[in-house]
Symmetry: C2
Subunit: 694 residues, 2 copies
């Protein structure tokens, strides 16, 4: 270990417990909650195994009127829930870490899609999030009941083995709603001045401390303003609240602003962007403090600790991207750290209520169901077979890394271009997207360390080249490219005049390669809905073009709302002077103009010197088709199998291509590598109660 | 029974099975799938008990790459799934009905949020539904594998006790994608002419028939064009396909167009609107045919059967609204039929992946977890107590009905207005909303039949009136009203100049009561997002006003997208000449104009003679607060309890107010009626497999 990093491995007492080091996986959603208890336990345990000294599960509703369905939460409503989550506490303990339980009430933000309960709030105000439906202004009885629920859930959590019990007050949930004068208009002693608005939180902290404080560390998560902030949450008041509650708290867990700021992406927020806010809390407390910062650099982590402002390095996304980050630091294997890209693919999946996933770490969430470990790879049954991987994009790079780690001794990763990375070669150079390059960079380093893997660039293989190559197994990872022929989603006809062979029609790859329209006015036509349309628009605007994005969607880049980037992206596009026209389809392109239909089927047209078609992609699978179309030639060449992965199968976001490449390499010696092997599931309990007819 | 309806009770043979009558609950989502097997079983069993001769569960994915997470489906992937769903077959059989299993593959429409599998499709085309992500063009191996999956799932379904096995081909899913030349561009014998495009479906029918056709009826669901249709699905081709497959099919289940048309709401589609399409199938088959039509009239049902075009009355929504519809017809209790309003609240809940719910039938989905039966009510423990229900809106009406059915002998439902119905008094008179009046009408009829319940209208009760009333229990159901003071979601400040006491500022209720602005130009400001804003706009436009809806949302009425009405609503608004401006906030109103901010925080303004504020509602809970604020007075008056229900608790959509009133009446003799009693849940199985560390 580099001695500069030793400070990160000091133990930190929190109340009656002691964290073994300063690495702390803060609570974050997973898609497992209390409905997939074994998946949850294995997902959290791997972080403890990787060296995180504190490991928390996601938000754990204490009350039936804090039900998060359709999102997946770690409900702590009854003993069945506690029994399931106890698996996590046990699994985390097995690796010497402390287990944390973030008890939660969403108040007016709760969804209650299962319970059908009325939402509760300090005051009856509409929310811009939950339209056409208001919350109940909490009565004194409601206040008492929520506190009882919290205490009961805390006892269940303690009995289930959790070491750290939260009174969750951040992210705009119930306690924040009370703390903010914008959402709290009460006049009954639970509103008014800061002490009144903080009272429910303080009383709950006191009650939970009385109930379980002798056995568990009491943590609380609060919001410390931030650049954009939460309405009504101001730094001076937060510091006052910290002072008031400090005796009741063993661990302060700090967040900033709303979720899009708190989980800010690398496109719009630097590492440690929260520090100007979170580091001020040290002014008023000597208790242990944890704050996140999307930190991936051990030097920066050590510097933050040495500053004295915080005691623990909090992480959610970085702990997903690399569960073994602490161990790698401890063992001086810094170049093996998988740095989080800050692209929020994890949140994209969670916001859609899916099973968790990560672009950097394909094993995230697969620990139980597929038995994958991020650092341990079963030796292949056929390691002496020569494997040719054609294409060093995300899927091909990942596949080659995993094949190498599984002990294959002759893997050739062959790339047609001069540089590896696939589509990332150009997308990482679009404005704001630089950190996505970490996907390539980490794999480039690992590939260099694997003796069984050779990387060959600048060599484009034809089918006969592949047949002559001498490989036993061929993996095709030739990616995809943007169509320039006017095919677009949801329409049978092509855009007339759409031909990327013309001067005024461009694909994103052509733009990346330097093609530009003849005049200064460009329309970027985006029916894709994620980052490529806005990215190309910003690139061209930066060069002085007058750019308008025309999109079929009602908002620009709807996918970015699911990565929490929508608002920032649209502000960024606006700031750069790019026009946006929504809800429009393009049906024809002519020299100097486009025409199309609006959402009511009425015609529109606009002048422009060029159109960039961000319409849809197509797999570059010609090589795969040629090879598999001639089984006799494959047999003659001694090729036992030809597989296809990544965008060559179907163009998707990068995380899915990496997952695909990883999956094939894990299962390449299985009975049928062309299909994912079945995974373990967690069925409902049919045995414990006999079915009663309704 | 009326002899005209006897035809509905004839048995109908389907393959090796016989349906006991012509009432058939077609497959539809519930939010239970295979993860809540007991809830599922009880929900379906109640329909069998109510007389539906065929009862199906929802779509049942056959393959891992047809995973519907985050939506809830009846996965049929393994024996655990089959064991859970067997409870439904058993429960349905106990009432003499046949159980149906709709085996399913979504193809390019699958979500795969759990499996992380690549989506498959006939051709690699982008979808307007699944942006930034394309599907894999199915190989010959994929085609063979899906057929194998289907056969295995069919065997599991048969072994689980299902009588009817589907090969689901409608609603744009995998087989439809093959059938349509828009989405199928294959050249390998599974594309091309109609026989080629139908081949996968035909082969799968054949394979399933070979596997289980001796034991089960084979059903298929296909799309028969429709007014809007599905791209590439034409009636003539569908009839050809029916002819080709007729030997393989025991039951034809017909749909029209896309889901918004097929589950068309009463706002935009008449009962039986599908008939011009579905009834043509009789031209080419003599096999049993089922089609839906949102039918609630027994006469219309009998007429449709007598026409000979269909053999069964299919229902999804009507069977949710009244599981006992067949029995009520059989017993001549027609006035007790709870008619579906066609408002798609069930779909609003399902589209958001919530537990099912119904505006007319508060017991839907509560059969297992709360033990509620739609027609059976436990006798109250305290039936002799006099109950005063103040307010005959949705919550109050429902509460009084259930109290009456539970045997309370002195329930007074007292309404201040001359007419019962609450907000429905005026909303049912807005353009297109007439059928929502069924909510009031059904309850008015039932109230009239309950000897223990008296309805008193035109009497507004003050707190002292209530104290003097002689009630033992008081239920406050005084509803809510729209704020005219400029409070709006997400903003701390009020809209300056917003005062519904002024001539140019109006609330929806004021409009309903006849208030109109001085000039001809009106802005309806909608931050609510559902039906009131567009409804008021259409009312005023119909009177000749020039109307613009200004909304903070990126689309008009986003909630309507979840009821499948969004597209129709926006077309309807457009057709009536109403302007729509989106993404705008109003911050100030002056005589003759409004001003505000756009989504980038830049100022905008517009001229207008009046503004209707559809911003947010407030509970009318003054009476409740006055009464509960003086416990001594309550004690003196002998009032044992004061409860509050419906919008007086929190303004919500009508279904939630009805649920609230129903819930209180069911639990009014419980230990704490002010809180919903805990309900039974279905936890994951922790016993059957020991946890293995990842």
């Amino acid at each position: 270990m580099d001695p500069r990093h030793a400070i990160l491995f000091e133990p930190v007492p929190i109340g009656p417990k002691t964290l073994p080091n300063r690495f702390y996986q803060v609570p974050h959603a997973s898609g497992f909650g209390s409905i997939k208890p074994r998946t949850q336990a294995a997902f959290r345990a791997i972080k403890a195994e990787g060296g995180w000294g504190g490991v928390c599960v996601e938000y754990a509703p204490v009350s039936r009127d804090a039900d998060e369905v359709p999102a997946v939460a770690a409900n702590m409503w009854d003993d069945d829930d506690a029994r399931g989550l106890a698996l996590t506490a046990e699994a985390v303990h097995a690796h010497g870490a402390l287990a944390g339980l973030e008890l939660y009430h969403g108040g007016a933000s709760s969804l209650n899609g299962e319970s059908r309960a009325v939402r509760i709030a300090p005051s009856q105000l509409a929310s811009e999030l939950r339209f056409a439906s208001l919350a109940k202004e909490m009565t004194a009885a409601d206040i008492a009941r929520v506190q009882r629920d919290w205490v009961e859930a805390a006892r269940r959590g303690r009995d289930a083995g959790f070491d750290i019990i939260y009174v969750y007050g951040a992210h705009g949930y119930l306690f924040t709603q009370f703390m903010s004068p914008v959402t709290n208009r009460r006049t009954d002693g639970y509103g008014g001045d800061v002490a009144g608005r903080g009272r429910l939180w303080l009383e709950t902290l006191q009650a939970v401390r009385s109930a379980v404080g002798g056995d568990c560390a009491i943590a609380t998560r609060i919001c410390v303003h931030g650049a954009d902030g939460l309405p009504g949450i101001e730094i001076d008041e937060t510091l006052e609240l910290v002072k008031m509650a400090d005796d009741l708290v063993d661990l302060w867990d700090l967040t900033v602003g709303s979720w899009p700021e708190d989980s800010g992406t690398s496109r719009y927020y630097a590492e440690g962007h929260e520090r100007p806010w979170t580091h001020r809390v040290r002014e008023v407390t000597a208790k242990p403090v944890v704050a996140v910062g999307r930190y991936s650099s051990p030097d920066l982590m050590a510097e933050v600790i040495r500053s004295g402002a915080v005691d623990l390095i909090g992480a959610a996304r970085q702990a997903i991207a690399d569960p073994f980050l602490p161990r790698k630091i401890a063992e001086g294997r810094l170049e093996e750290i998988r740095e989080c890209t800050g692209s929020n693919v994890c949140i994209l999946r969670e916001e859609a209520f899916n099973h968790v996933g990560c672009v950097q770490n394909a094993t995230a969430g697969e620990e139980y169901r597929r038995g994958w470990h991020p650092e341990v790879f079963s030796p292949a049954a056929n390691p002496d077979l020569a494997v040719l991987v054609v294409g060093a994009g995300p899927a091909g790079m990942e596949c080659a890394v995993v094949l190498g780690r599984r002990g294959f001794s002759a893997v050739h990763l062959v790339e047609a271009e001069a540089e590896i990375g696939g589509r990332l070669r150009w997308t990482r150079r679009l404005p704001t997207l630089g950190d996505w390059g970490r996907i390539t960079d980490w794999r480039a380093v690992q590939l260099g360390k694997l003796p069984g893997v050779s990387v060959i660039t600048g060599r484009r293989l034809s089918a006969s080249d592949v047949l002559d190559y001498g490989a036993d197994i061929v993996v095709i990872a030739t990616g995809s490219s943007w169509r320039g022929d006017g095919v677009q989603p949801g329409r049978a006809d092509r855009i007339s005049g759409a031909d990327a062979g013309l001067a005024n029609v461009l694909t994103p790859e052509q733009v990346a390669a330097g093609k530009r329209p003849g005049g200064g006015s460009v329309i970027v036509y985006d029916t894709d809905g994620y980052y490529v349309g806005p990215g190309v628009a910003e690139l061209l605007a930066g060069e002085g073009f007058t750019v308008t994005v025309v999109t079929t969607f009602p908002v620009l880049s709807p996918v970015s709302d699911e990565t929490l980037e929508g608002e920032m992206l649209r502000a960024d596009v606006h700031r750069r002077g790019i026009g946006v026209r929504r809800g429009l389809t393009i049906t024809g392109i002519e020299a100097g103009s486009v025409r199309g239909l609006d959402e009511h089927g009425e015609r529109w047209s606009a002048r422009c010197d060029g159109v960039v078609l961000v319409t849809q992609q197509a797999s570059d699978d010609r090589l795969y088709r040629e090879l598999t179309g001639d089984p006799a030639a494959l047999a003659r060449a001694g090729i036992q199998a030809v597989h296809v992965i990544g965008d060559a199968v179907a163009p998707r976001i990068v995380s899915e291509a990496i997952f695909d490449g990883h999956r094939l390499a894990r299962e390449i010696d299985g009975p049928d590598p062309s299909e994912p092997a079945p995974y373990r599931r967690e069925p409902p309990d049919l045995a414990s109660e006999s079915y009663e007819r309704g």
